[in-house]
Amino acid sequence: MTARSRGARAAPGRGLEYAARAAAWGCALAVTLPVAFLVGYLVYEAGPALGGDLFFGDVPALAAILGQRPVWNGIWPACAGTLALVALTSAMAVPLGVAGGISLSLFARGRLRRLLRLGVDVLAGIPSILMGLFGFALILFLRRAFLPQANTCLLLAAVSMALLILPYVVGATAGALDALPDAMRLLGPSLGLSTWRTVAGVLVPEARRGILGGIILAVGRACEDTAVILMTGVVVGAGLPSGLFGKFEALPFYIYYTSAQYQTPDELNRVYGAALVLLCLAVGLFLCARAGSRLVEGRYGMTEAMR
């Protein structure tokens, strides 16, 4: 075979390579463009409403933030409600989920392990409205059984929401630990470290990226889900969350409710404003998690450049 004919044979391959490269770029754009369009559209529509008024209405900002005066026509109570809900939900779901993932990956064996995995998968597949119904049914049960004064509240919403996002955290933790090489699993025991030390000092730090990824996903979900809180304690005009057993407002619910009931174009603009704020909140939490993971990286002696 001459060099020329070999070159001619290679040509279609190169064409394919160009096509694949173009397709890859196309796919990347197909994902990025809608996001850019969405954010642009949100900003455009929310533009007129953006400003201190959107958050606090006609109440002075400081008085509103400190809760000295109630805010009736701003989204500040909904922001505070969402933040409280996400914080409470994460406080329950993250430790429980990470611990569950650890036990699932490292300790459960045989039939029990298969059963637990099935349980986590089923939990992950439950629609959020069912989780809301579960919370509502729980309150009905409590009222009839032994707590007649029980009512839907922030705590109940957080419990239901934690149940919703738990499988994400469990799944991500177990997956990240499963992916560790055998040698890494043997390292702790080979040094005579206790099981607890091996898990906390070697395996979890090694798997931290996957675990953090799952936590970020889960927290994002807790930010935006409306169906769960709809039936478990969110109301319009509750004001700032008064405590674990009080009603609360939340951004996704405000968006859902107002977009269905608005009467003036101004109100619709405020909905877009709230959506933009929710997006920023989610991105903010994501950046916090990233910063947190950087901190952990530093603690474990790794930086971005060295990987």
């Binding site: 064996r109 043997l186 040094l191 005579g192 000092g201 060295m306």
Partner: protein, 265 residues
């Protein structure tokens, strides 16, 4: 050639040995890996295990400090005896904590296996948690171990740097230092030079040869040449069994080495 390990009373170790395996069988999920292995590990000597891939060398090493048990479906029968203050204990004995066994029988893996920590913390973390040392004491012990592993001069200015920034040879010596810092009686070393270039491999080999004054070493090796250079005792594995044993004096004569090559290849 001494094809059989020394016969010993049921509860004792042969003279000069710090560790011994008797009738050791290991299977994973029903697949037999080791069948009836007898092995003596002499104190202050270097025992080299050679054999083809899949002959059970690594499994034998792991059986000595019960690391096989970290895998699902592992079944071990037979006895592994360890000399503990002059008396022999079975390592499978319920009264003998497995963490203490693994501290006394240290292990270095085939590929450098680093903790996700700094160079110094790779040594001090186990020291603090396994031996219960304070910070200053652990740092001093770490320094001594790094000197013994001939790594101190290379890393003394970057103790706080991430361990993952070390080169392959340095990382492997760090692993060796980490195992030595825990003051083991026996050091198990699994093909330490497998992933290294010639010079780095030779450096590790020299280092191991020097360490026999302080520990009983069991080294798995792929290279017959380096095995013959290092070994006080050479054990040849074949299909999960010990097929031949040679002493250093025998290896010096050519025919023993030839026979060994036939056994292995």
């Amino acid at each position: 050639m001494n094809a059989k390990a020394t016969r010993v009373p049921d509860n004792g170790l042969p003279p000069g040995a710090v560790m011994a395996a008797r009738g050791l069988c290991v299977s994973f999920a029903g697949r037999q890996i080791l069948s009836g292995v007898d092995l003596d590990v002499a104190g202050n000597a270097l025992t080299v295990i050679v054999g083809r891939s899949g002959s059970g060398k690594t499994t034998l090493l792991r059986a000595l400090n019960r690391l096989n048990e970290c895998f699902d479906g592992c079944r071990t029968t037979g006895r592994v005896l360890l000399s503990l203050d002059g008396r022999a204990v079975d390592v499978h004995d319920r009264d003998f904590p497995v963490t203490e066994l693994r501290r006394r029988v240290g292990m270095v893996f085939q590929t450098p296996n680093l903790l996700p920590l700094s160079v110094a913390a790779n040594l001090t973390m186990p020291l603090r948690h396994v031996l219960g040392m304070g910070k200053a004491e652990a740092l001093e012990a770490a320094r001594e171990a790094l000197v013994a592993a001939r790594l101190w001069d290379e890393v003394k200015d970057r103790l706080e740097a991430p361990a993952k920034t070390l080169s392959g040879g340095q990382a492997q010596r760090l692993c060796l230092a980490r195992a030595m810092a825990l003051e083991p009686d026996v050091l198990l070393v699994d093909e330490p030079a497998a992933s290294l270039d010639f010079m780095a491999a030779r450096a590790i080999e020299d280092l191991l040869s020097g360490l026999r004054e302080r520990y009983a070493l069991v080294v798995v090796s792929h290279g017959l040449g380096s095995a013959a250079r290092m070994a006080d005792h050479l054990v040849v594995m074949r299909r999960g069994q010990v097929s031949a044993r040679f002493a250093a004096a025998e290896l010096a004569r050519g025919e023993a080495l030839m026979q060994c090559m036939e056994e292995v290849f």
